[in-house]
């Protein structure tokens, strides 16, 4: 008997359902943003330690790599924010019709992109 046989729930053969993808992505962005929250704490600690320590952060934040990182952070936080609002409605049993679930899913993606663009254009 082969031990390599696929295990239930046979994820690999199922069609990827939009709601499941959104849910996994919500958790994935959540983990990333947790690390972001810790970096935010480190940032505040560096400010408290004084300009000498803060200059270490500045040598990093002036890099183009950091700007890309910050851009992805804004996109991530907006996705998690809008999708989170969608889940808050679900917690109250609202907007749970299948067609609304799909429509609001696309709205989340569109709003995340628009919000990210607005923040970076206005700066």
């Amino acid at each position: 008997m082969s031990l390599n046989r696929p295990l239930s729930p046979h994820l690999s053969i199922h069609k990827k359902v939009l709601t499941a993808v959104f849910s996994i992505f919500h958790r994935f962005t959540g983990i990333c943003l947790s690390l972001g929250a810790i970096l935010l704490s480190v940032w505040i600690i560096l400010i408290a330690l004084g300009p000498d320590y803060y200059s270490k952060f500045q040598s990093l934040s002036s890099l183009i790599f950091f700007k890309i990182f910050l851009f992805l952070w804004t996109l991530t936080i907006f996705y998690h924010l809008y999708n989170g609002i969608r889940y808050l409605f679900w917690s109250y049993g609202k907007m749970m019709e299948l067609s609304t679930v799909y429509k609001s899913g696309y709205v989340v993606i569109i709003l995340s992109i628009i919000s990210t663009m607005l923040v970076w254009i206005s700066i």
Binding site: S34, L40, S41, I45, F66, F78, L81, I85, V119
Partner: protein
């Protein structure tokens, strides 16, 4: 299994608190990242900014703790690994909260 209902409520309560604060802070954060040291200090000298940031970071860290614990509960099957990960999450969260609070008070009062 203890008080999962209160954790569920806290997860959503912190989420609601974070909605307006996130809109405010994402914009500020991108601006602040290119500021000089003195400009950042003057940002935090404003009592409103310092208070809003304090609520944001505490709510964010707590929301993250609850979320990560839920993920660990769902995917980690080994009892020992579950204990270790949840302990690490708690240590990271509470040490970040304490250090951030001390730092913020130090910045505001200096």
């Amino acid at each position: 299994m203890k008080n999962y209902a209160s954790k569920w409520i806290m997860q959503r309560l912190t989420a609601v608190i974070l909605i307006p604060l996130t809109f405010w802070f994402v914009y500020q954060c991108v601006l602040l990242s290119s500021y000089e040291y003195d400009q950042i200090k003057s940002f935090f000298f404003s009592k409103i900014n310092a208070s809003l940031f304090f609520v944001l970071i505490i709510a964010m860290l707590y929301h993250a703790k609850l979320g990560n614990e839920t993920i660990v509960e769902d995917y980690v099957t080994s009892v020992n690994l579950k204990k270790i990960t949840k302990l690490s999450i708690s240590v990271l969260t509470y040490s970040s909260m304490i250090l951030t609070t001390i730092s913020l008070f130090y910045i505001v009062s200096s």
